[in-house]
Symmetry: C2
Subunit: 653 residues, 2 copies
């Protein structure tokens, strides 16, 4: 159906006239009307296949193999599954130099962070070092990001600690370790499973507002927990929620130790200052990267010289030397705590994954390459699966250390290998040096790390852009702070999902008018220059029409008509004759929506008002056709544009 060539005439010459005198011109009458096409029938199976491939393979991973010889295909597949073969093939000394600098820098951050985060999770400090050794090695083979630095994460550690401590006491080290390793195993299975099943989009459901609120709440929680170390309190609650923690702090005022407070606050100020310097001048990234290790060294020396552990400052104490011992025998899939381990594994695994992928994507976009979410999940999952067998707990790519890595000029995932080597060296030779490291310094390191997670500016931006998102953010924040980590998280995921449903339940309807001098019709509320068309009511439905909104839309359209008729009566304009629904934004429709349209048509027929639909899109045209509504309504009900609908119905009026 090729249209013959005719000039489309618009309401061009009458923009200065009153709206009520805007009669159809002869030109308009002669306007050619285009048939609305119904989207070509895909057979059920093909359409289903298409849907599936959009869900699971939106990136079309096979496109790189197209038209390649067999050998090349094998190499490509190897490079696809093990990215190390990709970058490893072109590796050279220059890259190594860059990576070595970055790797040593992040190692100096990773060692104190590893020890601190393990304590946060309620685990012995040495587990944090173990977790900074094996997982980064695995990531360097499987990971597709060039900037991610792997190891324990503050949020995942916090969540694991808070969920496990509710049931198991960290005092009972063996049982606690067993549950923690089993949870790590489940986290790995869950993460790799999501990736293999290509369900990576599930992490997208943790929206920005949710994460902003959650991270903020978690950061406050973690910081409060550190009051134990900062104040030198010995008897402290094992609960994470804000009330028992504050109670512990003030009930044990007698245990406060001024030596711990002075030392802790001094180093906290030092660390925060270092962080600030690096934020303001990214070139000085090494200031904040080196600050934790420097603090550890200085405080250990002070502590050793002053014998401060005798003066109310507790120290880390003995750490065993040697590499990761096997923990396969500690994985228990039956028994009283297996469901706890499963739950903890899924929640902390999900959060670790979300952080890792978000960080990976951020830096990839800065360097203009793409990472494959599903592949990253498999890499992170493998890290945790393997880690759970060699005394590691949940790990992923962390924001802080990846930022340092990026600023230190990392080039490939080899930085992880170098970092792991430094950690190995430490574990083999330097463990006795940590004996006198005061615990208060670990608290200061944790606080300075998590305080950056409180994103006040982000929250303000949310308030500006969308009040509902701000609500979701605050719910997550308060939920985590006052209730518990999993509850806070569920509430805010729930609110984010409700927002989508809400949009689909109460969609906006725009009353539209002609933009003078064009044949476009736009929202009267948005375009002040848009003019109503006498005798017509043009409504833009701004949502798919589903069971959740079909009744609402039907009744709301009738209300619009009632209000328009009242307005017309009051202003003595020409009576309403025709309602045009602009369907451009109705991207889908279901049975309930079709029923509602039919009913609306019947109702308006009885009131001698015409109902026509402009610009039904592909999917909608197809569904209207399959349900028989297309024939029922008749072809004179469908127009390609609002303009053609007006021109055609003008005849009859």
């Amino acid at each position: 159906m090729v249209a013959s060539s005719k000039r489309v005439e618009c309401f061009a010459d009458d923009t200065d006239l009153e709206a009520s005198s805007r009669m159809p011109t002869p030109d308009m009458m002669a306007m050619e009307v285009h048939k609305v096409a119904v989207l070509q029938d895909r057979t059920g199976l093909r359409s289903f296949r298409h849907s599936l491939s959009e869900v699971f393979f939106p990136d079309d991973p096979l496109h790189r193999f197209k038209n390649k010889p067999f050998f090349k295909k094998v190499v490509l597949a190897l490079q696809y599954f093990f990215p190390i073969f990709d970058w490893g093939a072109h590796y050279n000394l220059k890259l190594l130099k860059s990576d070595a600098v970055a790797g040593i820098t992040i190692a100096s951050l990773a060692i104190p962070q590893g020890i601190s985060y393990a304590k946060l999770a309620g685990l012995p400090p040495i587990i944090g070092l173990y977790s900074s050794f094996v997982p980064p090695l695995i990531y360097s083979v499987l990971g597709s990001s060039r900037d991610l630095a792997c190891g324990p994460l503050s949020i995942a550690s916090l969540v694991m600690g808070s969920m496990l401590r509710d049931v198991v006491s960290p005092e009972d080290t063996k049982e606690y370790l067993e549950v923690a390793f089993t949870a790590t195993f489940f986290a790995g299975v869950f993460q790799a499973g999501l990736g293999l099943l290509r369900l990576g989009f599930i992490i997208d459901f943790l929206s920005k507002p949710t994460l902003t609120g959650f991270m903020g709440g978690a950061a406050v929680l973690v910081s409060l927990q550190q009051l134990k170390g900062l104040l030198g309190i010995v008897h402290f609650t094992t609960k994470m929620a804000i009330i028992p923690v504050l109670k512990s702090v003030f009930d044990n005022r007698k245990e406060w130790s001024w030596q711990a407070v002075v030392m802790g606050l001094s180093f906290l100020v030092l660390l925060l200052t270092a962080r600030h310097i690096s934020t303001v001048r990214p070139k000085l990234f090494w200031v904040s990267a080196a600050a934790p290790l420097t603090s550890v060294i200085i405080s250990t020396i002070i502590s050793y010289v002053l014998r401060s552990h005798e003066k109310g400052i507790s120290t880390i104490g003995y750490l065993p030397e040697g590499v990761n011992p096997s923990s396969v025998s500690m994985l228990h899939f039956k028994g009283p705590h297996s469901s706890l381990a499963l739950k903890t594994g899924i929640v902390s695994g999900l959060l670790a994954l979300t952080e890792g992928i978000a960080v990976g994507r951020t830096f990839a976009s800065m360097k203009n390459y793409q990472i494959d979410g599903n592949k990253e999940m498999v890499a992170v999952g493998s890290m945790n699966l393997a880690g759970s067998c060699v005394s590691c707990y949940v790990t992923s790519g962390g924001f802080a250390r990846s930022a340092v890595n990026f600023n230190a000029g990392c080039k490939t995932a080899a930085t992880n290998i170098i970092m792991a080597s430094v950690v190995l060296f430490t574990m083999l030779l330097l463990m006795p040096l940590f004996h006198y490291t005061p615990n208060v310094i670990l608290s200061a390191i944790i606080i300075s790390a998590v305080i950056g997670l409180i994103d006040v500016r982000g929250a303000i931006l949310l308030w500006k852009v969308d009040k509902f998102d701000f609500l979701a953010c605050m719910s997550a924040f308060l939920g985590v702070l006052l209730l518990s980590v999993p509850i806070g998280l569920s509430i805010s995921v729930g609110i984010s999902v409700l927002k989508i449903l809400f949009h689909a339940t109460r969609p906006n309807i725009a009353v539209m008018g002609n933009i003078p001098g064009t044949n476009s019709y736009r929202d009267l509320a948005q375009y002040k220059e848009a003019k109503r068309m006498p005798s017509f009511l043009i409504l833009g439905i701004e949502s798919p029409v589903y069971f959740t909104n079909s009744v609402y839309l039907q009744e709301r359209i009738l209300r619009w008509i009632r209000e328009e008729e009242e307005r017309i009566t009051n202003s003595n304009e020409r009576p309403l004759k025709c309602i045009i629904l602009d369907m451009a934004a109705v991207t889908n429709i279901d049975i309930s929506g079709i029923e509602s349209l039919k009913e609306l048509k019947r109702t308006l027929d009885r009131r001698s008002l015409e109902l026509v639909l402009a610009n039904p899109v592909g999917e909608v045209s197809q569904k209207l056709s399959h349900s028989g509504a297309w024939e029922l309504f008749g072809p004179e009900c469908f127009y390609m544009t609002v303009e053609e609908a007006i021109a055609s119905t003008s005849y009859k009026i």
Copy 2:
């Protein structure tokens, strides 16, 4: 900003030329470009108030009170809250005549149905009659539908029975009644609460596919349950699920009674034939309406004459005479079963409400009046609240009896009063007559009533229109049949909601082209005549851009660009210069969506590709502006139409 009058020139004269030669004409160059307006700022509070009023008062219930004197306002308010004052004021003998015929007709249906449905819920038969007396009277005062006939419902009875029997044995009559009345009380509170809080839209979440599947499954379940009566089995399972029921049937083959089978099947055939006659000829509505009572009378006479209760046919037995006794003392809000009562009340109350409102809406639309969902909820809730105090269980408006009511020519809610009077007369004087009524006839009545709920045609239509909806339907069907009623219901509500989320997670992107002879741009897949514009890639995003799809859209758009560039290379066309996103269907955007747009812009800038947005709608323009993205992108990035975008960027290419 009023546009000056210029003729909009289109690609009118070159439709016959090759697409690749379609250069911008001088006319196009001179085309006036309209500034994209940003939706005027509503203050946070006003926008919030507007949102709230759309959620809770979409029908603007106060509009009828506008500009009315005080006395009139009082009368209108009275009529609003008690519709009986509305229709009662104009009531006359002619209306009474119609209502009397309809009322007596539905009473003849309501009495046997009441007895049968009470048995379905595991309650003594007399409770079914009590429930057909008080609730209809209350509805006639508060209800806004003219066609709804109230009383017990098959589905709600089934659900209540199945949920209660899992925990409490119906043999323990007192305890069972206590839980049932308490559940009814909770159902009433829940229903009236939804209405008062104007949360009526919640029932819209039970979508058509869900209900079709659920009703079908429930009908099969109920029918299978009736095998007990039809086969005359004495020892039968109290479970509802299909496996234990079939096991009961075949394990107790010895108890099968041929007398019961013969009598049951004969009357079932009679009832189904009567139903068929009334379906084919709606004028003969009285055939199906009178059939149940006729069957009861005939079977009772046969049973009395043949003394059949001595021959393996059980009968109803003694029914107490008199009106509803008070049951206030049987409502227990504490104790072991209160949470069961709460759960049962909410589920059965929700289903009763859904049926009542759907039926009310259906008949209202046939007679061209509107019912107010929230008001109906208050009416139904009051029925159940009051009912729970006078020995009634969950009631609402039923489909079958309302259809009979409609066909019998009912005019107002007075039919409910007349029906209640007939029930009262029966309860006071005719109870001994039911002594010999065989139970098998009640089973036949139930089967013939619920078999109509199996909507095979509806399921086929779902298959045709949307495979996903069909899946939701079948999940509800199988879930109810094989698992349990609440689980089946939750699964299918979950699937319906997932469908909406899915649409928001993997939205369609349409590649668009110019419709020759117009300035419209449409989906190439839908309109075969649409032509690509050389150097341009026009993508229509068919969904709001949210956190659930922002990453997908960003990556999918890059894939579209990659594929377009491959196509261009293969066909030796002019290289791609500009990507136009048609935002007409992007009805909303959130922070993540804005971030993705920014990142896409950055990525394309690096590749020297231009990105422009056409027709951002009100809400989106506002959010882009508030987040600062509008200024960041610059005005040359936004166009009112795709055409103006092409005309303007043509300069630079």
